[in-house]
Symmetry: C3
Subunit: 207 residues, 3 copies
């Protein structure tokens, strides 16, 4: 199995867990859990594959991805009540899924020989779109829009790091590991220590 | 005309009626009716065709689908005030559209020789995505998320039934009819008799 | 550069400005500005290209589009506080972006020799989808749904005008200019003078 496929499996699994946790907050039935979990898990990679005209889409070529998402959803349906804080678990799982998916998206674009802007955008899309779809469908404020948190910015930095590292090492694995590591470090630093970029203020401080 | 194309026409017509009813609740103008009706009517099948890389997309190859959706929208614009309950009509029409679209989606995937998980997911996507887009765009709670109702579950069961029936009968029409029938029976049972699956409860009853 | 590519550049630039203005209202950070600006700027054309199976998608074939969107976003991040009314600026910029994007969408479909309904729908999709995605993601009421305003209707009329003009003149540029002009005139008339189509009333006046 290629590194990129392994990353896709990892992000599908973890994003599916986050989708199922959101389904638990919406009190859905088991098929509802699977629906939201699968949408979250395969959403970003599906948009990536459609845009890059990959054929077949990754989960159509290998439906095992769907089984992974469904299994994760059912597991959460029966175990979520054991968690101390579902919201906290959701946010941290989402940070891992984001990091892995950014690397998977950048890796696919790198393998296709795409130029840097496309590599970076595909990393961001693969990382952010699944969670965005999950949040829009259930009516939550999309996590990509949370003020004062690094999310899209972490994805951007990680995808950029993956592209730079690939140029330096000319090897796929270290580049993707660096991309995932950079994304996760920034996202985790934002969650744990409040790292953020300055946000737009409509009334800037007087100079 | 193939059975699948006939099912596509049927689901386009009925989903367009539901979209136009939603437009009437949002008090849009006639072009707004056509917009929401067309989005609902062709949304699910469009996602299906993009994912399966069918070319052209069904309504680009045969723009008559668009005319059907537009005609349905205009008809509703001038007649919706005659209905006793627009919401009740909407919910029941939606159940028929769901059933027919699930069969159409599964039928397309079966014709392409896709494996069971892809057949089932394409049935669910074709059935659920149009209504999901309609509800997200107008800001309603998506009907796929209604607690204590069978919707995604009905689509899942119907698509599964279509796949099993195709395996048993090796004939397209009975399989698709069984898929549509199973979907509609479950959805209608949920609407009329409150059939549902157990939903996730954060505090499970003590045993 | 073809007329259609020029229109795509124009609509990407102006839609990116509108996306960044929406990001300023949501008080995002600079990468958040770029994200919403790019989603708005390339969203409609991306849907058009995916549906028409154009390969590559316009901004994957020429990543300069992404640079234009990012540059517009950063410019707005540093200058939006100079505007007297960001909402007013947003609405008027959006009217120009709509007009140009409708022409770009219709132009692509005309170049591919698509029939009239597909030309019109592609004009409408390219014009309306980017703004629709922008509004759905940030949780605003989509501008396409604003009651008593011409928006989708202006896009429809402009795309229709482009198609008729192409038939009359058999030349691309005048047809696209007429399409953009018709769209903008109707949208601007709606904003400035309240032009509208009759909307659906659940209780029609007694005759």
């Amino acid at each position: 199995m290629s590194w990129v496929a392994l990353l896709d499996y990892g992000s599908v699994l973890i994003f599916a867990l986050t989708g199922a946790l959101v389904a638990s907050r919406a009190q859905l039935d088991p098929i509802g859990f699977i629906f939201i979990a699968a949408l979250t898990a395969i959403g970003g990679g599906t948009v990536r594959d459609v845009l890059l005209d990959r054929n077949p889409i990754f989960w159509i070529g290998d439906p095992l991805y769907l089984a992974v998402a469904a299994g994760a959803a059912i597991t959460v349906f029966f175990t979520a009540h054991l968690l101390e804080s579902r919201l906290r678990t959701l946010v941290w799982l989402d940070s891992f899924a984001l990091a892995i998916a950014v690397a998977a998206g950048a890796g696919v674009a790198l393998n296709l020989g795409q130029p840097a802007p496309v590599v970076i955008v595909m990393g961001m899309i693969t990382g952010c779109m699944g969670g965005l779809m999950r949040d829009v469908v259930v009516g939550d404020v999309p996590v990509v829009l949370k003020q004062g948190e690094l999310y899209v910015s972490a994805a951007f930095a990680g995808a950029l790091a993956a592209w730079v590292a690939r140029d330096v090492f000319a090897l796929a694995f270290p580049a993707l590991a660096i991309g995932a590591g950079a994304t996760w470090s920034l996202r985790a630093g934002s969650l744990a220590f409040g790292w953020s970029l300055p946000v737009y203020k409509s009334r800037p401080p007087r100079s």
